[in-house]
């Protein structure tokens, strides 16, 4: 671990100023991911600014009927909130599918969507990784790809030596639900406050795999807003993983079904929580029979690129996420009829 300075400013504005002023500074909230990275040498900041107690820990009602999740609210608190459970079950389910009770007690609303990939090569500083060390190459291509992307990548075996190559996935469950809910992110930065759609928070690797999000340096998430949902909305989160608990998703599905249509986000398949907009288009106004959903998912996954690798590669994710979407929408439709 590289030594660093630690600051605990009195308010968010000061925290933002401190991080903005130091190019190699980071925010610390729950620390469930960052502290591991400090120990492993994956993160080597000069300054760590602790914001754990600076933002709101509350879940509050918004005038439009939505909910505001303070950035410092914990995953446990949000998952247990009656309003969240009743109105946004997809979010409560996603939160409870993540990590363990101990980690959920520490992890926060603001921090969870900013956790970094679980790619084993990203986490091992002795192997090349474009995300950790830009330009060093991508060890995951042709390697252990079980937890890697099939969507948002150009080829089945992209050039491992190209500086833009990264086939990592985003590991958060919460973020997949927030993407499906069309959540809004409240941000405070050096040039003031702004709001951005949650679906714009994460980015594909492009030619800069080291950058996971669209936040500028010094920008801090202060809250996440959940927009109101029409009456009769049903939602669910389905996570498929290698063991019954305490494992990252192989694939996951967040589905929100309203009278107007379906909002679908997929986890474990891309560098971002993957909003399945192509499938959503094809499902708009249609009865959600298995055949209709299958056709929509065929279209969504048409560009998917299975990543070969040791231990069988990750091609299984394509049929798996397909089946999981069909099953999840069938479950929501059946429940609605019951």
């Amino acid at each position: 671990m590289k030594p660093f300075s630690y600051a605990r400013p009195g308010d968010v504005a000061e925290a933002v100023r401190e991080v903005a002023a130091e190019p190699n500074a980071v925010f610390l909230a729950g620390g469930t991911n960052l502290v591991d990275h400090l120990k492993l040498g994956v993160a080597t900041p000069d300054l760590v600014v602790d914001v754990r107690t600076l933002t709101s820990q509350e879940v509050t009602d918004l005038p439009d009927g939505g909910l505001r999740l303070g950035a410092a609210s914990t995953n446990s608190e949000v998952a247990a909130d009656r309003r969240v459970r009743e109105r946004y079950p997809v979010l409560a389910q996603a939160l409870l599918a993540g990590a363990t009770g101990q980690l959920r007690n520490a992890a926060t609303t603001g921090g969870n969507p900013l956790q970094r990939t679980r790619c084993v090569y990203f986490q091992d500083v002795t192997t090349p990784c474009n995300k950790r060390e830009p330009g060093s190459g991508c060890s995951a291509v042709g390697g252990y790809t079980r937890y890697h992307a099939v969507l948002g990548v150009d080829a089945a075996l992209p050039d491992p030596d190209a500086p833009g190559t990264c086939i990592a996935t985003h590991p958060s469950d919460m973020a997949v639900a927030l993407a499906a809910l069309d959540a809004q992110v409240q941000v405070l930065g050096p040039s003031g406050a702004r709001t951005l759609p949650f679906t714009d928070l994460h980015r594909l690797p492009g030619d800069d795999p080291a950058t996971d999000t669209t936040l500028g340096h010094g920008e801090l998430i202060t809250a996440i807003d959940l927009p109101p949902l029409p009456a009769g909305t049903r939602s669910a989160y389905r996570k498929v993983r290698d063991r019954a608990s305490y494992a990252f998703a192989l694939v996951s599905v967040a589905a929100v079904v309203t009278d107007d249509g379906v909002r679908l986000a997929l986890g474990g398949v891309a560098h971002t929580p993957w909003r399945a907009t192509r499938a959503e288009e094809l499902l708009r106004g249609r009865a959600l029979t298995d055949d209709v959903v299958r056709a929509a998912m065929d279209a969504e996954l048409a560009a998917a690129q299975p990543q070969p690798g040791i231990d069988g590669g990750n091609g299984f994710k394509i049929p798996l996420v397909h089946r999981t979407v069909v099953a999840t929408l069938r479950q929501l439709t059946t429940e609605a009829q019951a």
Binding site: R243, S245, Y246, F316
Partner: protein, 697 residues
């Protein structure tokens, strides 16, 4: 024949004597040993899989405040013995596998040691490495013998002829995965070198045997055994990986010798354990079975390919259980090794029997399917009268009784033809046999002394969570004919008499025999009314030893598996094991051993998998977030039962050893149940949902 001890304390479900200290957190483990002013070590590891270190830039590191020593191949002391290449730590700049120790930083804090170690730049002359296990390698070779001294190959009759003429045959290849032991307590040591002292080197080390540990360390450093003390009262799990010391122990001892008078501490990180603490080799097993229509085996053969390290050979005895499990006139077993540029494999819970009861027990299920026969019945009709390997009679063998009682307890008769669906889940039942040899080591000594009205038994035994602290007093009490409350047992220190390793499920059999002999000697010398300070000792070699029988524990495991019809997710709602493993000394600690073994077997079946990346020569998923072990949510109903078995040939306790049998056969039972549930036959572990998806409707 041995007259068994009259069981009074034996058979009681006494609570663990060390339980309260462990629950309260006051039990002292190796790294926590309270010492004055300790220094801390962090290893430097090679980041190439083969080649040579040409330079290490340590000057800046050594100049840092708080850095006490930096040892490398270029400045480390020359060891007295490098006969065991695993222990030739920092003796040469050659790199034989990725992650090999090439240095250590000793500093005032563990954080500083780690930072400095990670910052040392190393220049290498790298060479191409070869770390991929395949069956078509031209350089596969037959080792001189396999682990535990078994012959490499055996052959009887003509398997090929039987395969050609038999009515039904099975010929498939099965694979077990690379596995890492991963005890929760890492490999850790506190070491102190005091050159002028009577016992200059003291190691508080997490080990499965203080005396074997001492023997290895004293040889490497050219010390008399009396110059080394090893202390280890508690172990947070070992599963074989602490059965022999690994290179980390030599490294911390070298660090201590570089800082005379100053205690130094080293605990491997979880990631480092994937390179340095041993592992179970992956195995590739070709099974051939030939049978008549009634299921009687005409041939059984296993040909094993597995890996070892070029540095040091370890040949897992995977084919050995096939030699003795079932009757058949034609039999063959072979082992071939690939020596690779990889870390050194070693013991992991039931080496040999654990992977070796996968292929055969799945192949039998495939044979039962071919025959349209109940797999329990198939095993019963192939029950041998005597050990097929040696021709000796069994000391006791109750496999058939285990199968029958297990079937009854589990509700096997409800099994049906398969592919039964309940809601979203396919449900299936599977069975497999378990086996583990009953062993006793040749060397162990115990003292019994009368001290202030109580009996004290001393032996350098190890309790790795198995219950030695608790069961040895039970044995001593019955051997002395006194209440267990009047017996104190002291273990875990080379100051006590020599004890064998806690390995091969032999600890209780060996140490208990020595304690019983010592008790008998004590009574012979001092009668029933001894004086304070009266003392006698006993050796295990004075205990009755039967060479005329084949001694094994047997068992049967039944698994219910559920496979999700949409996603292929796997669950094991029920595992039922019935074992015949001699007399149970303590039902409480025994049940813990058996269900622990079964849980680990389930974890092997479904979850654990060291994914080796041959491009770089290391395990890709080398931490506990990515190397999955079954968690509580995966473990539902696991039951272990045992028969009341009386075996007069094994030892005076009538005990057979229970630490390892629970993990044998479990994975096969799970895989067989998966097939029953889905029709999908998985021949390569672990069974993961991606292997299910193509077979789902």
């Amino acid at each position: 024949m041995t007259d068994l001890l009259e069981p009074r304390a034996i058979g009681q479900a006494l609570v663990r004597r060390d339980g309260e200290q462990k629950v309260r957190g006051t039990a002292t483990y190796a790294y926590e040993t309270p010492v004055e002013n300790p220094a801390f070590c962090h290893p430097v590891q090679a980041t190439i899989a083969r080649g040579r270190v040409t330079a290490m830039d340590t000057a800046a590191a050594e100049a840092l405040d708080g850095v006490l020593a930096v040892l490398t191949p270029f400045n480390a002391e020359r060891l007295a013995s490098t006969d065991d290449a695993e222990y030739a730590v920092l003796q040469s700049p050659e790199v034989a596998f990725r992650g090999q120790l090439i240095g250590v930083v000793v500093a005032e804090t563990s954080e500083l040691a780690r930072e400095v170690a990670d910052g040392i730049t190393v220049a290498y002359a790298e060479q191409p490495h070869d770390s991929e296990l395949r069956t078509d390698r031209p350089d596969l070779y037959a080792p001189e013998q396999v682990n535990a001294g078994h012959p490499t190959d055996t052959s009887e009759g003509d398997v090929e002829a039987a395969m050609r003429s038999a009515e039904v045959t099975v010929d498939h290849t099965y694979e077990t995965q690379m596995l890492h032991n991963n005890p929760i307590e890492p490999h850790a040591t506190t070491a102190l070198w005091e050159p002028g002292a009577d016992v200059p080197l003291t190691l508080w080390d997490s080990t499965q045997g203080v005396h074997p540990d001492r023997a290895a360390v004293s040889e490497v450093f050219g010390l008399d055994e009396q110059q080394v003390r090893v202390v280890c009262p508690y172990v947070g799990g070992g599963f074989g990986s602490k059965g022999n010391p690994h290179a980390n122990v030599m490294l911390v001892a070298m660090a201590a010798r570089a800082l005379p008078g100053r205690p130094v501490k080293l605990a491997l990180t979880r990631q480092q354990m994937f390179f340095l603490a041993g592992y179970r080799t992956p195995t590739i097993q070709r099974l051939q079975l030939a049978a008549d229509r009634r299921g009687r085996l005409q041939a059984i053969a296993i040909d094993v390919v597995e890996q070892t390290s070029k540095v040091k050979e370890f040949a897992e005895q995977t084919g050995v259980p096939t030699r003795m499990m079932y009757a058949s006139p034609n039999r063959r077993s072979t082992h071939r090794l690939a020596a690779l540029d990889v870390p050194i494999p070693s013991w992991m819970r039931a080496p040999g029997e654990c992977p070796g009861m996968f292929g055969p027990e799945v192949a039998l299920d495939e044979l039962a399917e071919e025959l349209g026969m109940d797999p329990v019945q198939l095993r019963i009709v192939n029950e041998p009268d005597v050990d097929p390997d040696t021709g000796k009679p069994w000391s006791s063998r109750h496999l058939v009784e285990c199968l029958r009682e297990g079937a009854q307890r589990f509700g096997w008769s409800d099994r049906g033809p398969g592919r039964r669906r309940e809601g979203d889940w396919f449900v299936g039942y599977g069975v497999a046999s378990s086996v583990y040899p009953t062993m006793r080591q040749a060397t162990s000594t115990a003292n019994v002394r009368f001290e202030r009205g109580r009996y004290v038994a001393e032996i350098g035994a190890a309790d790795l969570g198995t219950g030695a602290w608790t069961v040895l007093p039970q044995i001593a009490a019955d051997a002395l004919g006194v209440d267990v409350a009047d017996v104190e047992v002291r273990i875990g220190d080379t100051r006590y008499p020599t004890a064998s390793v806690a390995g091969g499920s032999s600890g209780t059999n060996t140490w208990g025999s020595a304690v019983s002999v010592a008790a008998r000697e004590f009574r012979d010398k001092f009668g029933t009314d001894p004086h304070d300070g009266d003392e006698a000792s006993g050796d295990v070699d004075q205990a009755a030893m039967d060479e005329d029988h084949a001694a094994y524990a047997f068992g049967a495991q039944f698994a219910e598996v559920r496979v999700h019809a949409d996603t292929g997710e796997l669950r094991v709602p029920r595992l039922t094991g019935v074992f015949a493993c001699g007399r149970i000394i303590n039902p409480r600690t025994a049940r813990s051993q058996l269900i622990g073994g079964m849980t680990m077997g389930m974890s092997m079946a479904l979850h654990e998998n060291s994914v080796f990346d041959p491009r770089i020569g290391q395990v890709a998923n080398h931490d506990l977030a990515e190397y999955h072990i079954s968690v509580n949510a995966d473990v539902q109903q696991i039951e272990a039962h045992w028969l009341d078995e009386h075996d007069p040939y094994v030892n005076v306790m009538g005990s057979k050893g229970i630490g390892e049998i629970g993990i044998t056969g479990t994975a096969a039972a799970v895989v067989n149940a998966v097939h029953h549930a889905t029709g999908v036959r998985v021949r390569s572990l672990p069974v993961t949902l991606d292997k299910m998806v193509p077979g789902l409707p």
